[in-house]
Symmetry: C5
Subunit: 311 residues, 5 copies
Amino acid sequence: EETEIERLVAKCDAFDVVWINVIGLADLDLIRLIGKTFNIHQLTLEDINNIHQRAKYENFEEYDYFITRMARFDADIENRIETEQLSIILMDKFVLTFQLIEVDCLDPVRRRLKEKSGLIRERGNDYLVYALIDSVIDHYFPIVDQLGDRVTDFDDALQKDETTVSAIEVHQVRRELLSLARLIRPHREMLSRILREPSRFSAQTRLFLNDCMDHALQLGETIETNREICSDLRSYHLALIGNRTNDVMKTLTIVSTIFIPLSFIAGLYGMNFEYMPELKWKLGYFAALGAMAAVAVSLLAWFRSRGWFGT
Amino acid sequence: EETEIERLVAKCDAFDVVWINVIGLADLDLIRLIGKTFNIHQLTLEDINNIHQRAKYENFEEYDYFITRMARFDADIENRIETEQLSIILMDKFVLTFQLIEVDCLDPVRRRLKEKSGLIRERGNDYLVYALIDSVIDHYFPIVDQLGDRVTDFDDALQKDETTVSAIEVHQVRRELLSLARLIRPHREMLSRILREPSRFSAQTRLFLNDCMDHALQLGETIETNREICSDLRSYHLALIGNRTNDVMKTLTIVSTIFIPLSFIAGLYGMNFEYMPELKWKLGYFAALGAMAAVAVSLLAWFRSRGWFGT
Amino acid sequence: EETEIERLVAKCDAFDVVWINVIGLADLDLIRLIGKTFNIHQLTLEDINNIHQRAKYENFEEYDYFITRMARFDADIENRIETEQLSIILMDKFVLTFQLIEVDCLDPVRRRLKEKSGLIRERGNDYLVYALIDSVIDHYFPIVDQLGDRVTDFDDALQKDETTVSAIEVHQVRRELLSLARLIRPHREMLSRILREPSRFSAQTRLFLNDCMDHALQLGETIETNREICSDLRSYHLALIGNRTNDVMKTLTIVSTIFIPLSFIAGLYGMNFEYMPELKWKLGYFAALGAMAAVAVSLLAWFRSRGWFGT
Amino acid sequence: EETEIERLVAKCDAFDVVWINVIGLADLDLIRLIGKTFNIHQLTLEDINNIHQRAKYENFEEYDYFITRMARFDADIENRIETEQLSIILMDKFVLTFQLIEVDCLDPVRRRLKEKSGLIRERGNDYLVYALIDSVIDHYFPIVDQLGDRVTDFDDALQKDETTVSAIEVHQVRRELLSLARLIRPHREMLSRILREPSRFSAQTRLFLNDCMDHALQLGETIETNREICSDLRSYHLALIGNRTNDVMKTLTIVSTIFIPLSFIAGLYGMNFEYMPELKWKLGYFAALGAMAAVAVSLLAWFRSRGWFGT
Amino acid sequence: EETEIERLVAKCDAFDVVWINVIGLADLDLIRLIGKTFNIHQLTLEDINNIHQRAKYENFEEYDYFITRMARFDADIENRIETEQLSIILMDKFVLTFQLIEVDCLDPVRRRLKEKSGLIRERGNDYLVYALIDSVIDHYFPIVDQLGDRVTDFDDALQKDETTVSAIEVHQVRRELLSLARLIRPHREMLSRILREPSRFSAQTRLFLNDCMDHALQLGETIETNREICSDLRSYHLALIGNRTNDVMKTLTIVSTIFIPLSFIAGLYGMNFEYMPELKWKLGYFAALGAMAAVAVSLLAWFRSRGWFGT
């Protein structure tokens, strides 16, 4: 097998831009062999195999090493975000990428490489690496937008019909925004370091990376804004609940406060004492009814004066 | 058409300050042609056509490129803020601007150019670009002020009549302030970079840009302050709701707690047992009434001692 | 009039320190004339006339320009803070100040100039400017202290008698602290820039400006601390309300939960069925009373076991 | 005893990498003796004995001094985190470590030293120190992960069955995350200073330390994220409680508001007035029942119209 | 008197380290005299007399000036923290300290000077100043620890017995932590500036100051952590109150909801209509009792199905 890789590498000498895409990391021997062939540092090999890392950029003598994380919605569970690590090694003559499974977000780059036979091929390895990173970052947009749409839906729902949005949904979206923010922040740091430090990227390509950085910034800001809206929605929701409880309480209080005294009066004349003068009166019953009406009306007036019928 | 543009450009040689304002971005061929004529980088052309970007500043070899966002209230929907992207390219001999629709906030600049035939014409292209950016920033003031007025109205309303402001309105204003803050922050970063880095702006014009920066800072601060007041209002609103619920509860509790025992006493003597000595007593009825009065008075005294009639 | 100013200026040649204090900004021609006489940049003149600016410092070739804001309590409305802009121009031979109305906080400086005929006169224009800025900053102390006292009063009141402080007062003070913080922050930035950058201030005077910076820092911190205490008070207030509602609820629940079953028993034997054996019993009435007492006592015991009589 | 240590040290001359691991700090004389033998500064000796310090790095002329804190779950009390201070001194020829008790997290290093007889032995003292620090940091991962799992469990529980998670558990985890964050932050600062400043670490080893820094960053972020989720859970919990109270209130209000008027009607006709015309009516009883049904139905309709049966 | 001081100073020529400790600041003439004798700047004299300043460090040509604040618990009022300003002037040949009252926290330094006759005397004035600052900082530890213990007590109490801690106590401790944080932050800034800038401290002493800085950092972190725990406790407390209110409400609702319908049935058959067929039935009474039991049981079943008897 060794000879096979070496023979392959030898053949590549003819090309200016060579992208070797390794899919599957289970065969440790193969990874080690590739590492040896391309003179890759042991730490980098460990990073490639440890697939739960944050995006980062490291400058080695013989190559630049990038970790990026590709995100997509889970195919099975709705709204669950899945990520996969893509390791990129930029050497003078090669670009090596490593990923665990075949599903990725690099097809736009592959298509451009096959179709427009120009641009990437002309501009060298560093431009290819830019194209890969750019493709990874751009694939965050639909995810962030989808979450943003859900937040906007919540907001609209709350403003129209108060009860549609449950706290649990806002909580879920907020949590996913949190994990997205945590994915994107390291990419921003990575790009910022690439742009700040001397590296294998030409001034040409740096202009494009700048653009990529803009996208990362925009992603970060959109997420931050949506997270803030979520916590605003939460506060608003709490206020709504408080208002509703207040409303329910008022109903109960009005009804109870009016009828409890009336029932008391009724109870009073339901007593069986032998000597109760009012019971003998001709108009006793109507007097009692009148007293009840008077109590009810004055209580209602008092409630009105306190503004309980206002809103 | 090509010749037309080139002929136009050739004619401009005679002028010191030339402002070409492109309105409408639908005709991609035309944009590409302009790009070719003026030697504009592909990335810039993409940025011009992608009209959902944050304000930024990019230094290219042959020109400086600025994206700004013009904001105005939507003509149709009340209190909805709309934005439009204005791309500005500052070259040694030309100023190019690109916008999607004709409505903009640059009329003050146009008027000054036509009327006072001086100042801008004298001071060169960089001053014209300053005037454009300044005009964009200045148009945020009435919007921010209007939102600030609404916040102040809420605050005044809460302090006078507790129930006028609904949580939903505060929530809406806070959300709009959030999106405004998100629009203005990149402008501030843009101006800060222009002032920090070497660029096509003369020391003269930089003084004016400094002024512009001051305005952007002031906008940012006003928004921040209003956002803080909004969240203070929200907290205050929550406390009010809590207070009101407490108030309603107290009314209910006082009425219930007094009448429930009284009703019990009345119920007691409403029982139909054959042998109930109190019922035969001459003053049984009045004794019962007296007991009820005693219970009521002592409960009222207890409530007063707990301060429930205080506020 | 022109000659008058020029004649005045000419006369000033004899003095080392000359302070020209312009009160009233309505006469635009006069301002423009002064601007021309002293060679003041158009931007500065605009800043002088635009009286709603934040404190700032600008270094021009021929002078240093400072905006400060003087604060005082409104004479008419209690606890309302008013501010006025004081523009200071420090030139090699002159100090110019501009203000809208005559009321200001510079009297201490004027008095020192008149009385102690020394110090300021000796130390030159830059020391005079320091004295002016210092006087402006020092006048914030009584305002901040007065607000701090109100916060402390609230805190003490809450700790002694729970109901004296209303949420609205805390809200008002917090809002005023916010606007004060917004006034003082730019002064701090201004002083920090003066101390950092080369300017017309001698090393001597810088020591004094350092002192002034200390005061500004202390003001900022006091405000921040008071704002934090205010939001602590707010949280505490919310907890109190919650506690009180809980207390009220407990009272209601204890009374209701005890008497509702008792009333039910009474109601039971108030029914008019022809065949109700208990009614005929000799001790039926007392048995019913006994049952009621048993119910009441066991409910009370249950409440006690849940700790509802604890606090 | 002195001679014994000196003899030991003398013997070590033959080896490139020498690690002296001092366990137990009770024998102050011994510590002082070691200090004298290896020329250790008095401040370092004090730091070694004062076992409640935060991680730090200090550069002395003759050695670099590191304090790290090893964390593990308490063997006796569930979920309680215990820490122990590990002091590391890196000299040109020796690595000295000091710890209070024998239990530590350095076994992986010891094993590697014994087994793979290579790597650490080859790379010198600085690599050994890296291996020690790395081992300390890596031992935080299972702890942070365990806490993260508990947070995730809470989150899942809340989303499935609303009542399983109590506020007290979230509060405890949040508190432990806080103390973990406080442990890890100084390690991050320590590593950052080592990487920034010139020190005894070779460029080789710095690559590895960089990796270690990545781990520390990742730990910090995981903790931060979990802490945020905890406070989100708390808010969510509050909303749930509010919702539940609202729900309970609604039940009470519906039942009370329907039956209180009905009971009042019943009470009305339970009065014993001699002259009550309705009582004589043939259909009086059924009319009363009908009136009650009408009241109940209209109240139910009103509740439905207010959406109280919605969720 | 003048001669007396000068004579004293002259005598000091023989010593390397001279500490002059001025207690009491009322005698302004004396302070001015000392100022003149030692060539102290007017600003420093003002600072010495103005005893409400934050800790700071100022570098003058002839001396370094430090303000520190010593804290201790008030002797009379429990848990009240008192502070006193200690001004330190470090000259080449003298160390001057100024304080208002005799009570201070410098006794450890005095004792070391008297007893161990070594160390401080050997190491010069700068080490003495370090010892003074160190002593001031170290005296914050018992105060911070005591507050930390109270916070821990609250936490433990809340976790065991929910009702022991009142919101007011948490509020007080949080407030005191806030004022402590405000005291310590300037000390940290002071130390950081001393370590960063060139000053009269030898490289030797700087090592010790570094240690002192570590202590200040640790104090700041402990305070911050405790403040966070306090606000966690507050949130937790709010949740507890909410839970308790919910609990009380549930009890009320269960009892009311069961007995109100039962009482209604009882009331129904307490009506005095002449024609009520059920009243004549032989088993009418028992049928009514059966109906009541059926209602009660089905309501209890419904509550159980909603999980109201869960926790």
